[in-house]
Amino acid sequence: MEKKRGKKKAASVIAKIYVILLFIFIYAPVVVMIVFSFNDSRANVVWSGFTLKYYKKLFVDSGIWEVFGTTLLIAVISTLIGVFVGTTGAVGLRSAKFKGKKLIMNTIYFPIVIPEIVLAVATLLVFNLSNVSLSIGTIIIGNTTLVLPYVYITVKARLAGMDPSIEEASLDLGADRLYTFLHVTLPAIMPGVMSGAFMAFSLVLDELIVTSFLANAETTTLPMKVYSMIKKGISPEINALTTLIFAFCMVCLLIYLIKWAFDVHKVKKARANAML
């Protein structure tokens, strides 16, 4: 018994060491990125002293903020359209019966299963052959198509776990379809909709392939700018920008954790009170 416990303990220590090593692998490039955003040398290969000039440049250089704005605009609109089409689709296709439904249901998965570059090329061909000139609109259409299956899948999963009798009950009580959808179905599937939206939004923010194929010469998004700067070998500003975004994400995570710890504390206190 003693030996078995010792073995188990050793295994758990090894597992912990493994996970820590893997996270070092995952975070080493992040640390390098942060460190080099403060590096004085433009070459970005060797360390040559601390500086904040790239952060200063970032705030002064209006070009990057414009790019940032375009990226956000594309991400927000693509996410909104994707969430609308994906959610109504998941709810509608659940019970609908029509010819070609199976084909449509399989087609929705296409953007996930085929490589992004194939989708990018194919979408470009449609616009090209129908003489639609490239713009922010074409980028948004391409990105929406890309994220649509993610929204559809998460909402579908949520719907599968929902009790259909609550919708029936709403209809029996005299509510119409629209009211039932907005006040019964939608609140029930909201977590799925939100996680789909979040996934879609973060995907579009970092999307390069589809966007660069569907963009005209004037439109640049953050990933496109990053990629072109990297190819030119100039990137401390980009490091600085990414460090800021990273710090923002970390702060959000921390707030979430603190809030959780606070909630746990409250629950425990409530429980203790109830016991008394």
Partner: protein
């Protein structure tokens, strides 16, 4: 009286089903139209373009030909296809081997810890996969972080040539796809009933036997999903090879990209895309045949 009620219920139901029809048409319309216009139509166009002839100055002549497909069989391009599959194979294998234990670990710890670990896992890629790829250039080059570190420790005497090799490409790819591979494996391990492992132990099987006979088969859907999620983007993701690979490590993704930028040969690029899509659809077909769920690929 009884009959009357039954009748009215029937009428009511009929009325409701007619209304249901209208509402389902309204609900299905956006996704149906979108799928037809922006997924089916593009694929049809791609197929059409792959049979067209390349004209002068990157123009397309609308004459039917099989030449683009014949072109792929040229040794120059076959090498690229072979190379792509080798790199994708090693990336997938390494990603699964590294990711499975991590997924198992995340599945075992407390719910809140697992949530935090998942976020920490995804965070670098959410922030920007591209910039992080560039960090690998800084880490791997001959006067970079890793080489300086190893030289200082006296482990190596001369800097290693790590950058612009297939090793660098595979490392970058594993980095990019590890988080996406861990998630489906995690969810299938989490669903596992611990009672089954107990039972296996009680029946006299050792931990190794239990793992191969119970745990692994039961979590295979998650592993399948992880394989698909790594292999497919790996072949098409041209940025990694572009940044970390030398001139020699080209993948099908890079080749397609070239046809639409420098080479300006759209029909050939379309043919390559069609072949790539066919190979991958075949893999996905096998995946679903073996009980894989397409929904697992999106979460």
């Amino acid at each position: 009286m009884k009959n009357n009620t039954a009748d009215s219920v029937k009428k009511h139901k009929e009325k409701r089903s007619a209304k249901a029809k209208i509402s389902s048409v309204v609900m299905c319309a956006p996704i149906t139209i979108w799928s037809v216009l922006f997924i089916l139509l593009p694929v049809a166009m791609l197929l059409f373009m792959s049979f067209m002839t390349k004209g002068p100055l990157g123009r397309v002549l609308y004459q039917f030909t099989f030449d683009n497909y014949a072109e792929i069989l040229k040794p120059v391009y076959l090498v690229v296809v072979k190379q792509s599959f080798i790199i994708a194979f090693w990336t997938t294998l390494l990603t699964i081997l590294l990711g499975y234990p991590l997924a198992a670990f995340i599945a075992r710890v407390k719910k809140k810890t697992s949530g935090v670990l998942t976020v920490l896992l995804m965070l670098p890629l959410w922030v920007s996969g591209l910039v992080i790829l560039y960090s690998f250039v800084v880490i791997l080059n001959s006067s970079g972080t890793l080489n300086s570190f190893l030289l200082a420790l006296g482990i190596i005497k001369e800097p290693l040539e790590l950058l612009y090799t297939n090793f660098a490409v595979i490392l970058g790819m594993v980095y990019m796809f590890l988080p996406f591979a861990v998630l489906p494996m995690y969810s299938s391990i989490e669903k596992l009933d611990p009672g089954l492992m107990e039972a296996s132990k009680d029946l006299g099987a050792g931990p190794v036997k239990t793992f191969f006979k119970v745990t692994l088969p039961l979590t295979s859907p998650g592993i399948f999903a992880a394989v698909i999620l790594t292999f497919i983007p790996c072949i098409g993701y041209y940025m990694v090879t572009d940044m970390l690979g030398g001139g020699t490590s080209m993948m099908v993704g890079n080749l397609i990209y070239r046809q639409y930028t420098i080479a300006r040969n759209w029909p050939f690029g379309a043919a390559l895309s069609i072949i790539l899509a066919m190979i991958i659809l075949l893999m996905v077909f096998i995946y679903t045949r073996f009980g894989g769920d397409l929904d697992d690929l999106g979460a």
